[in-house]
């Protein structure tokens, strides 16, 4: 991008931030995650957060967004105009980030590890060109406040598996907006494991723009104490024969709060779209809370959309059955919680990443069960 283009986009983003201000609970989409009150006097600030690529697999190209003279693939995709305040803030209030590209047809076997660290705002861009494939492991470092604006572009027939683990992070306020564009037959699989913090929010906007594009979103959260975890998704079926699934499972103890807001939009003419949405929560504490809000917005005629949400407690009969066979109560509870989360974890295809999430869950469940 030329300097002028960069400045133009930044200026537009800054205008969005100024006109909307910091989101708070009286704004519908932020009802369950009051960012303004969580940030208090510190506000959004204008610090640039850090990023770290753990190991750059050969075949993957990297560009530091703070460098001059970005290549064409960055210029073409970076920082598309947005009305999303926090995504705009990640551009307007930061001076950098990372861009990654997998060239057409490249099948990358090694996992790409990308961490965001430290306080402030930062941008990410990942482009998979036509027919490319990659597994991305995103790490989340603890910081007082961080806002990540991440754009992912999948070309025709590209395939990405994205696994993000957000560790238990005490008083941290962590916000991330992922925006995905999928061309025809592109395949995205995203899993989001969260262990909560003072305020944790993962926003996903998925735009299915080519026939045959598919997005499979899943996630688990295990929250103890006063932790909060919010997954907010918006999947847009823009064209015919596109497919999306969502499966999110939450376990909340103490006075923790699990939030899932999921909207599926089927645009006019996007016939043959198929979408499903399931969100379930188990509450282990009297003061624990789950806010599950699946939503459908359909403008096409011939579509298949299913959605459901359920909040409950551990099944007393199952617990008795396991105990009557000799399994001590706390272990039986742990086993049932693991079982509850299992189908969402099983959505992760990459074996090592799936085992990593399972291990993290076991540790967290021991504390909360």
């Amino acid at each position: 991008m030329t300097l002028a283009l960069n400045l133009d986009r930044k200026a537009a983003a800054a205008a969005v931030v100024h006109s909307h201000g910091v989101p708070h609970r009286r704004i519908e989409e932020w009802k369950y995650s009051d960012l303004k009150s969580a940030l208090g006097d510190q506000g959004l600030g204008a610090v640039t957060a850090e990023w770290l690529v753990g190991n750059l697999p050969s075949g993957v190209e990297m560009f530091d967004l703070a460098w001059p003279n970005p290549p064409a693939w960055v210029m073409n995709h970076f920082a598309r105009p947005t009305q999303n305040v926090m995504r705009a803030a990640s551009l307007a209030l930061s001076a950098g980030g990372v861009a990654l590209r997998v060239p057409a047809g490249a099948q990358i076997a090694d996992v790409l590890k990308l961490d965001f660290n430290g306080p402030g705002h930062v941008r990410g861009l990942l482009v998979l060109e036509e027919g490319a494939s990659l597994t991305l492991a995103e790490g989340v470092g603890v910081a007082d406040f961080r806002n990540v604006g991440f754009e992912i572009v999948l070309g025709e027939g590209a395939a990405l598996e994205h696994v993000r683990i957000s560790p238990e992070a005490g008083d941290a306020v962590l916000v991330e907006e992922v925006l995905l564009h999928l061309a025809a037959r592109a395949h995205y699989r995203g899993h989001f494991a969260g262990f909560g913090s003072k305020l944790s929010r993962m926003e996903l906007e998925v735009s299915l723009e080519g026939e045959g594009a598919q997005a499979h979103l899943s996630g688990v959260s295990v929250l103890d104490g006063k932790r909060h975890s919010d997954v907010t998704t918006h999947v847009i079926h823009r064209v015919v024969n596109t497919n999306s699934t969502q499966l999110f499972k939450h376990v909340a103890g103490g006075s923790a709060r699990a939030v899932y807001q999921g909207k599926v939009t089927v645009a006019k003419g996007a016939d043959g779209s198929d979408s499903s949405q399931t969100a379930k929560a188990l509450l282990l504490g009297e003061a624990a809370e789950a806010d599950l809000k699946p939503e459908l917005e359909i403008f096409a005629d011939d579509v298949k959309c299913a959605h459901g949400a359920a909040v409950g407690d551990l099944d007393a009969e199952s617990l008795f059955y396991l105990r009557a066979r000799g399994i001590p109560e706390s272990q039986a509870r742990g086993l049932l919680l693991q079982a509850f989360l299992e189908d969402a974890v099983a959505e992760i295809v990459h074996t090592d990443q799936r085992e990593l999430v399972r291990t993290e869950l076991l540790t967290a469940l021991k504390a909360v069960a």
């Binding site: 086993l335 079982a339 189908d343």
Partner: protein, 249 residues
């Protein structure tokens, strides 16, 4: 081994068992027969320690120990096993994982060492074969999608693996066709042992053709109203519960 004296049990404040007496010695097989609503399942649940079944009077001594003071898992570790009428389906836990966890939990509680995964697999396979429990069933989630017969066979398989001292079989015959019933009964009979007591709870005489008890007790309205040898089952079958219950009242 099991000594129940004047047992009164209430569920949600309603008295279901009203002064039940029962004594079973090692090596004996007793049957409890009774019409619907007589308190048969309540008895089985109170023996296994299910929450919500309150003992308001009387006592249950198991090998001289107060059974009511023990948690369900402690009872299991000490050798009490209840084969349930409706085994629970637990998605997300494979049958094999469940068997291994349960077996080693019981062993640990008794101060015995764990059996490793390979050892458990060998043990389970050896016993599963005679009960016609397939390898594929062991890989599936516990009881999920199992037929009635498969669920009951898995209950008896557990009994064979855990080797309890006191086995209670709650309506193990319900929902089984004659072939499945025979298979399950053979499994139970193979576990008859001078050191093991069994309590077979059933509505119908049919099961007792295959598992022949030493003693039969008739339960009605929360009490034992008649007792006798195995021939009592035939009398019940011929004359119906009304006859015997009416006589006792």
């Amino acid at each position: 081994m099991l000594e129940i004296k004047n047992l009164h049990v209430a569920v949600d404040g309603k008295e279901i068992l009203k002064g039940l007496n029962l004594s079973i010695g090692a090596g004996e097989v007793h049957a409890i027969m009774g019409p619907n609503g007589s308190g048969k399942s309540t008895l089985s649940y109170v023996l296994a320690g299910r929450a919500g079944y309150d003992i308001t009077q009387g006592s249950i001594a198991y090998n001289g120990e107060d059974l009511a003071a023990l948690a369900p898992e402690e009872r299991a570790a000490k050798g009490v096993f209840l084969a349930m009428q409706y085994p629970v389906e637990i998605p997300g836990v494979t049958t094999m994982t469940f068997l291994k966890t349960a077996l080693n939990s019981q062993r640990r509680a008794r101060g015995e060492s764990d059996i490793d995964a390979v050892g458990v697999l060998k043990l389970v396979r050896a016993k599963a074969k005679t009960l016609n429990v397939s390898e594929e069933m062991l890989k599936r989630a516990l009881n999920v999608g199992f037929s009635g017969g498969e669920k009951k066979r898995l209950e008896i398989l557990q009994m064979a693996i855990f080797e309890p001292k006191l086995a209670i079989l709650d309506e193990t015959d319900s929902g089984l066709d004659i072939d499945a019933l025979r298979l399950v009964a053979e499994g139970v009979n193979a576990l008859r042992d001078p050191s093991r007591a069994m309590l077979v709870i059933t509505h119908y005489q049919r099961l007792l053709d295959y598992i022949v008890p030493d003693r039969i007790h008739v339960l009605a309205k929360g009490r034992i109203v008649a007792e006798g040898g195995k021939e009592l089952a035939l009398e019940l079958e011929a004359k119906g519960y009304e006859h015997i219950v009416g006589q006792a009242a």
